[in-house]
């Protein structure tokens, strides 16, 4: 959902996010909603600047979010309101797979003591075939015990308010207050929104936490409607853009999976078969894949040679960030380009990462300042302690100056898929160059270097189209041509296409990223430059992919017959006279498909969806209460404890942790056992308004550095009292990965929670700080461990355990922070 849509919400739940601090500009829409009378709820271990603006602050144990959300699902489905307001049942019956009968091979965590059917202990993975639908069987009344609705109802029945209190440390009355606020702010004329950020994603169960929220929002009819939905707040200026046209190892542009060796994606057909779905939007996948190959490989890509599919790299394992770091240390990865990133501070188990950097042959760094990742070889905690000598580090470092934002043209894609163009104000000074300049000329030089070589590797470079014109005093590539390529064109005449509907799978079109298609429908018309806002969808402000749609799945804002659910929440509706969908937004639905359309038996693709099936990307057009495929850790969200937790799993005592978490079990990345008495405290890490991620753009800037000039850990007065720690005292935090010292910020904004009858203390620590720049401090990530979510391969950084003591570390050469 777009951030502006929050202003239409009746209740906003901010959970797994500190929105006011980390998304202050977007937070204006929360304030707008508040002005209009919306209830704001902040569920967070700490009382933060977001809490200060909320109507309710709910302190919760870090890592227990899914138990809380599960509790909300159970509460909603057991409530009188859900039963008595017909809207809820109608939404679920019509728009979700609630009525779908699940095959009888499926066994739930209820049956298997916290596990799902299909687990193979040998591979340590689930085989999802037992989760399949009983094809063709539906129970529209949703009373069959094997329908998805009844299965999830049973699954969450153990998530009672009592259980939420025990697991999350949230008193029952407070939990019920939250549940009531959400429930009464959901319905035909009211909507509730959830905002989350990386405090949901950065867990070993992160994907499932978000799925659980989606499930709740489907059950409450809060999807595809103004002021409803789930807002994934994305931190950096174009972090959304960097997953759309990805820097991720497992994706090609437009959320098409990378071909994988293990899955047998060795030729184009087998790859397309794996991506294409018989029903739903992904039926179009071959058009996008072939057009993308034509954009990359140009004339060299023909039907006869699989459009050069052979030259697309295939992945053979986990090459996510966390997985790459030990590979550097072990010598598997020998070179690294590091741009816009500071892993020596920002990466989990950052000492291991620094050891990895020290074992590379070469590293290319581009950064405005000599951040820690560039400086590690001559200054680091290990160099200061004498553990490492600079002369023993063999890594050759190429440190290059970049152009900063006002010195280059480009686009930002923000949190709500909104692409906004920015223009260069001044040329960068001296040797500073833009990223497009660097990547383009690097590519050109590599092509020149391999121009005469006759190896498959050289051929891979030779066939790549890399022919943008250059402009300006530094020969920057013409970005207009890059956008044209992203937008797509017909190969014959290079005429720009108006959108992805024009793309073909016969090699006659080229398109760099199908979801962005339409961003430049005519030469010179860059829609990301648009700057006309209004109080509704602001369709003329920037360009939102896909097809400038602002609220996704917005067909759900109308009832099955196409009428708005209510006057108050009108957004998109069927206009019988014009025989098309109309409203305030671009319909996220075939524009002229009637609400009463029913597909014939042979229909494929989007035509196989009914006229009342809003979720066009899903195989059957329905939101998934039960996910028969796609997630590797189960078809229904389930609470497992974080890998490190002071308490056991009260919901599933026999299965404390998720059985499929990817771990890096090695002597330099050891984990704590559940309830390990040596590490009794929950540690969570986070950001502050004043700094940017690992500090590369803020700790070196005096105006920002002075606002939060030194590292600290936030500790409750109760915990501080146990150790005799005063505000401002030095404390030492310890895990099996490392040991650091920092100042104690003793504050009532943290508090011990009662978990299963005993107090559990939580410590919070900003992870911005390192030894470089003006604002310094020990590195929070020296404490964290490399471990991942099995679906997204995102690291866990929001809940692990540690020990605390008063006083500083015995360091001979001074602290890595200040020396007071």
């Amino acid at each position: 959902m777009p951030q502006q849509s929050l202003a239409d919400s009746d209740c906003i739940v901010i959970m797994g996010s500190n929105m006011a601090e980390n998304h202050p500009v977007g937070f204006r829409f929360v304030m707008k909603a508040k002005e209009r009378g919306a209830t704001i709820i902040h569920i967070d271990p700490r009382f933060s600047r977001t809490s200060a603006m909320a109507d309710l602050h709910v302190p919760i144990r870090a890592g227990s979010d899914l138990a809380f959300l599960g509790g909300l699902i159970n509460y909603a489905l057991s409530s009188d309101r859900w039963e008595s307001v017909p809207f809820f049942r109608e939404f679920v019956q019509s728009y979700t797979n609630g009525p779908t009968i699940i095959g009888d091979t499926f066994k739930d965590t209820e049956d298997l003591a916290g596990m799902f059917s299909g687990y193979d202990p040998e591979s340590g993975a689930y085989e999802s075939s037992t989760w399949a639908y009983d094809e063709g069987h539906l129970d529209p009344e949703m009373t069959d015990p094997r329908c998805a609705f009844q299965i999830i109802k049973r699954h969450f029945s153990r998530y009672t308010p009592e259980m939420v209190e025990q697991v999350c440390g949230v008193p029952q009355e407070l939990f019920e207050q939250v549940a009531e606020a959400i429930l009464t702010s959901s319905g035909p004329d009211r909507t509730t929104a959830f905002c989350y950020a990386v405090a949901w994603t950065q867990h070993t169960t992160g994907t499932q936490i978000i799925s659980c929220c989606a499930l709740l929002q489907l059950l409450l009819g809060n999807m595809g409607r103004p002021g409803g939905g789930i807002l994934a707040l994305r931190g950096h200026a174009t972090i959304q853009g960097s997953t759309d046209i990805p820097t991720l190892y497992h994706l090609l542009p437009g959320y098409i999976s990378m071909p994988m060796v293990d899955a047998g994606h060795l030729d184009l057909q087998s790859f397309m078969d794996a991506i294409q779905q018989p029903k739903g939007w992904w039926h179009n996948a071959p058009k996008y894949i072939v057009s993308f190959l034509k954009a990359w490989y140009g004339d060299a890509a023909t039907g006869e040679n699989d459009y050069c599919f052979d030259y697309v790299p295939k992945i053979s394992g986990d090459y996510s960030f966390a997985a790459m770091m030990p590979m550097m240390k072990d010598g598997t990865i020998k070179g690294l380009f590091c741009m816009g990133m500071n892993p020596a501070v920002g990466g989990q188990n950052s000492k291991l990462i620094r050891e990895g950097l020290a074992n590379l042959d070469w590293m290319v760094m581009r950064d405005p300042y000599e951040i820690e990742t560039a400086a590690f070889w001559h200054d680091s905690p290990e160099v200061r302690s004498g553990e490492v000598r600079p002369e023993d580090i063999k890594t050759e470092i190429f440190f290059l100056p970049p152009a900063v934002t006002p010195e280059k043209d480009g686009s930002y894609t923000n949190t709500q898929r909104l692409v906004q163009w920015h223009e260069k104000a001044v040329d960068p000074p001296e040797d500073c160059r833009s990223e497009p300049w660097f990547m383009y000329h690097l590519g050109r030089r590599l092509k020149a270097l391999y121009a005469d070589e006759e190896t498959p590797q050289a051929r891979q470079l030779q066939v790549l189209t890399w022919d943008y014109d250059t402009e300006g005093i530094y020969d920057d590539p013409r970005l207009e041509q890059v956008i044209e390529e992203i937008n797509g064109y017909t190969v014959r005449d290079r005429k720009l296409v108006s959108g992805f509907a024009e793309l073909k799978d016969d090699g006659s079109t080229a398109c760099g990223c199908w979801i962005y298609s339409g961003i430049m429908p005519e030469p010179g018309l860059n829609l990301a430059r648009n700057r006309k806002g209004d109080d509704a969808a602001s369709l003329e402000w920037g360009f939102a992919w896909p097809a400038n749609r602002r609220v996704l799945y917005n067909r759900a804002s109308a009832d099955p017959s196409g009428k708005p659910w209510s006057e108050r929440k009108r957004w998109i509706w069927w206009d019988e006279e014009q025989e098309r969908w109309t409203g305030y937004d671009v319909p996220d639905f075939p524009a002229t498909k009637r609400p009463d359309y029913r597909p014939g038996p042979d229909a494929v693709g989007i035509d196989a969806h009914r006229g009342d099936a809003p979720f066009i990307m899903m195989p059957d057009g329905h939101g998934l209460l039960f996910a028969p495929a796609g997630l590797v850790d189960g078809p229904i969200p389930t609470h497992y404890e974080p890998w490190e937790s002071p308490v056991t799993n009260l919901l599933y005592p026999e299965q404390v942790r998720s059985p499929v978490v990817p771990t890096f079990d090695r002597p330099d990345n050891q984990y704590h056992e559940i309830g390990d008495p040596r590490f009794p405290y929950v540690l969570t890490t986070y950001r502050l308004t004043e700094h940017h991620t690992a500090g590369g753009m803020s700790r070196f800037v005096p105006w920002l550095a002075e606002l939060q000039p030194g590292g600290f850990a936030e500790i409750s007065p109760e915990l501080a009292g146990e150790f005799g720690i005063d505000n401002g005292d030095w404390v030492t935090l310890t895990t099996l990965r490392g040991e650091i010292e920092t100042r104690a910020l003793v504050t009532e904004r943290l508090q011990p929670l009662t978990i299963h009858g005993r107090p559990v203390h939580q410590i919070g620590m900003p992870w911005h700080y390192g030894w470089g720049g003006m604002a310094t401090g020990d590195i929070a990530n020296d404490l964290s461990a490399l471990i991942e979510d099995p679906n997204s391969r995102i690291h866990q950084a929001k809940a692990f355990t540690c020990d605390l003591s008063r006083g500083r570390l015995p360091r001979t050469n001074g602290a890595s922070g200040d020396d007071e």
Binding site: R28, S51, A52, W703, T747
Partner: protein, 274 residues
């Protein structure tokens, strides 16, 4: 019926309304101010005082956000249901008040401090001789001598931007419109409506700081940069009843005359005795 205006602001006076109930403590105002006015970082260091590490307004800090944590009750319990709009962690972006009758201006012996066409108060750097008389003359502790050029500095309400038809940098940067810029007259009306609205929502403690009743007392006659607060002004380090030091000069200067007269009479008497 014409009612008495809430402040003595002159016609056309421009100012700030800083509404603390909308402040999220992001400090964008501090940074935007320093960037536009090219002020250096100062007083660098970790304070441990909540999230306030700049401490106070200073010669190089013309916007300062203070943070006041007031969470636990006597039993140590933390609140969960919160008053609408910022109740338990107060944040307030402080700034020069651009007083209707400004102590600093009256105390300045060189004429460096002047009132502009926008009814704001600025220090002309080419005239200031660094005598520092303005420093104790301000009841809010705003002007300060710079350790760098030894002259007095404070907020100019972005006089240069105003001349160019732009709003001040802090107001421009504020993401939640906690800092609003405009005609004092309009802002005061907006503030009155806002306070009424807040009280209607149960924020009984909301009030305007900077009219003749509060903040603009004792002849100051109003602050062109005024505030909406929800706690006693001292909580934010603002005096409840600020006074101009000049108001106290009559008694002290009368007693000096009296003392001088007594001394003269004594001297005359002693001389006559010779």
């Amino acid at each position: 019926m014409m009612s008495e205006p809430r402040t003595g602001a002159r016609e056309g006076a421009m100012g700030f309304l800083t509404d603390t109930t909308l402040c999220i403590g992001c400090k964008a105002c501090e940074v935007a101010c320093k960037q536009w006015n090219q002020l250096p970082a100062d007083n660098f260091g970790y304070t441990g005082n909540s999230y306030d590490n700049t401490g106070d307004l200073a010669a190089e800090t013309w916007r300062h956000v203070s943070f006041v944590e007031q969470l636990a009750d006597d039993s140590g319990a933390r609140p969960t249901s919160l008053n609408a709009f910022q109740s338990n962690w107060l944040m307030m972006s402080d700034v020069c008040k651009h007083c209707v009758n400004a102590g600093c201006l009256e105390a300045c012996p060189t004429g460096a401090i002047v009132r502009t066409e926008f009814d704001t108060v600025i220090i002309q750097q080419d005239i200031c001789n660094g005598c520092g008389y303005c420093v104790p003359a301000c009841p809010f502790g705003v002007p300060a001598l710079s350790p760098i050029d030894h002259k007095a500095h404070k907020c100019t309400l972005c006089y240069d931007r105003l001349r160019g038809g732009m709003e001040p940098a802090c107001a421009k940067a504020c993401p939640t419109d906690s800092i609003q810029f405009g005609l004092v007259e309009d802002l005061m009306e907006r503030a009155s409506d806002r306070v009424e609205n807040l009280r209607g929502r149960g924020v009984d403690g909301a009030y305007i700081y900077g009219d003749r009743e509060t903040g603009g007392t004792h002849g100051i006659d109003g602050l062109n940069a005024f505030f909406i607060l929800t706690a006693p002004s001292e909580t934010y380090n603002l005096p409840a009843e600020p006074e101009l030091p000049q108001d106290k000069t009559f008694p002290s200067y009368a007693s000096t005359i009296l003392a001088a007269a007594a001394f003269a009479i004594g001297a005359a008497l002693s001389l006559r005795g010779k």
